[in-house]
Subunit: 321 residues, 2 copies
């Protein structure tokens, strides 16, 4: 079996995570090339994997006979880069958010539908083992009928004011599109399609986008979710809680354990163990498998479109007074 030839476009923090995840599967793929608008950054990352470095992804795509790429650029460049990838029939793992807007996301999806190449959006939490365990508890009916969900991704983003993350032209928005986009995807994974949502945002830092956001969301099946995120709260927290009529479950990202739960009548928590590889490594394995076997990814284009529809609804809601 030939190993898949991989390129990574965008060699910043998340590009590094993708490279590390591909490198975890040497029998399945080889990292051939890394592209970044900052050539020195591309070279540094590429040299670690004995790969070629490029400052123009089009040249990389033309020269390297790639089977698959990851797009890890800031959102502004997702659409133009994705169009180049799709045009060449190369499979694509595209970082979140899918793009700056629903319209850009639709254009990306349409290009891959035309090309027939595989497109997976990188909602990595779908591959976080404790979240998957939580989903299994729900699907097995252990928690009864799910009624409420809470999720928080909070941390301190001290570089915010000087980062592209807070340039709406580059990022498409602030913490809502960057971080709550994960929460919306996790809510859809656990509770099903979104029926209704309302958002509230605030800005404490000297930036032009929101640095704190909450969304209240209701699924078609009637599950109510409260999703929080902030770039200005100092203590890092990433947590999901689910309540059902027969029990509750928690995923705490700070723990090395899996999901924990307790059922009606129990005072103690049952703690599941989690020995699976991390979410980036599992996400990459799924992508490589889909490319190899030409199968649709389980986090597909419909998920990207649904989440971006929710993101835009959230921004509309937050701007109403």
């Amino acid at each position: 079996m030939n190993r898949l030839r991989i390129g990574v476009i965008g060699a910043g923090g998340i590009g590094g995570a993708h490279l590390r995840a591909y490198a975890a599967w040497p029998e399945l793929c080889e990292i051939v090339a890394v592209a970044d608008i900052n050539f020195a950054v591309a070279q540094t990352k590429a040299s670690r994997y004995h790969a070629a470095a490029f400052d123009d992804p089009r040249i990389m795509l033309d020269r390297c006979r790639l089977d698959a790429v990851s797009i890890c650029t800031p959102p502004k460049w997702h659409l133009p880069v994705a169009l180049e990838v799709a045009e060449r029939g190369i499979a694509c793992l595209c970082e979140k958010p899918p793009a700056r807007t629903l319209a850009e996301t639709e254009a990306i999806v349409a290009a891959f539908e035309r090309s027939g190449a595989i497109l997976q959006f990188a909602f990595c939490h779908r591959f976080h083992e404790p979240v998957r365990q939580m989903q299994e508890l729900i699907e097995a009916g252990k928690l009864g009928r799910i009624v409420q969900i809470y999720n928080r991704f909070g941390f301190r983003f001290d570089r915010a004011a000087t980062s592209w993350f807070t340039d709406p032209e580059v990022a498409g928005g602030g913490v809502l599109i960057d971080t709550l986009v994960h929460s919306l995807d996790i809510f859809r994974m656990l509770a099903g399609e979104i029926e209704r949502l309302e958002a509230a945002v605030s800005t404490t830092l000297p930036i032009s986008v929101e640095d704190t956001a909450s969304i209240q969301v209701v699924s078609r099946s009637g599950v109510i979710g409260s999703l929080h995120c902030s770039w200005v709260t100092p203590v890092s927290e990433a947590e999901i809680r689910v309540w059902g009529t027969e029990g509750e479950a928690i995923v705490d990202y700070a723990s090395s354990d899996g999901a924990c739960y307790r059922l009606a009548g129990e005072s103690d928590w049952t703690v599941l163990s989690a020995r699976a590889p991390d979410r980036f490594v599992l996400q990459t394995a799924h992508f490589l498998s889909c490319v190899r076997h030409r199968q649709p990814p389980r986090v597909g284009t419909a998920d990207g479109l649904a989440v971006m529809r929710a993101v835009e609804a959230a921004y509309r809601s937050a701007s109403r007074k």
Copy 2:
């Protein structure tokens, strides 16, 4: 100093809590009379405190020369009973929710304004020592600028289907008006006046009112809150969390400790001790002091009106799709 002469109207669960709280201050007051539509219940409770029992509160009010009463009936009877109390110029501690509707609450407040007698709404969590500690942490600026608040009151209410709590004619609604009314008051205490809110509700039990509710609320100062409650989740939980730009704080009602907090850069929680009497006892002490000194209570008529305005806005919001 003469002891204040006290009557309690409504001798169910919460009436018992008021009687116990008055009995904690024997130097300040004496329990003179207990009224309940069920005379046997009134007698049982009255006999514990060597008080007289009545099945008609008007006869009790006319005969017993009371200085103050607690109204602990179901909400349907708050307005008619309060009008009788106000007319006789007797001070009143009125249980939550203030009444079934904002209009009924306004009528109660107007009657006490006409009479000049003191009216305190029994939002007992204002007197819960850990909540007061949390408020002090916020007011002292220890947590920085507050950006988000989370609150959950969840438990299993197995008797729901056969209880007056789920008869909208008697209770005015379901878990939202019964339990989330506390959360709205706590949010106002910690974050200030409410600017905007959206609610979502669901019903799992065979009842005609909501048994699960969430409210997303924003204060005038921009603090975003997520308030949850449910009668159908099996594990009892009562918790408040506050996040600011310099730290976070938690009140867990299951703990015998006070509030705990951690600031930027700290990995450990600082746990405050709480040795004060319980919230019902402290609430009663405040009420007795206000009656004695003819001072306005710190949980006043404006708080009752503001919370009922929020409750009605929440029901309107929940009924929109």
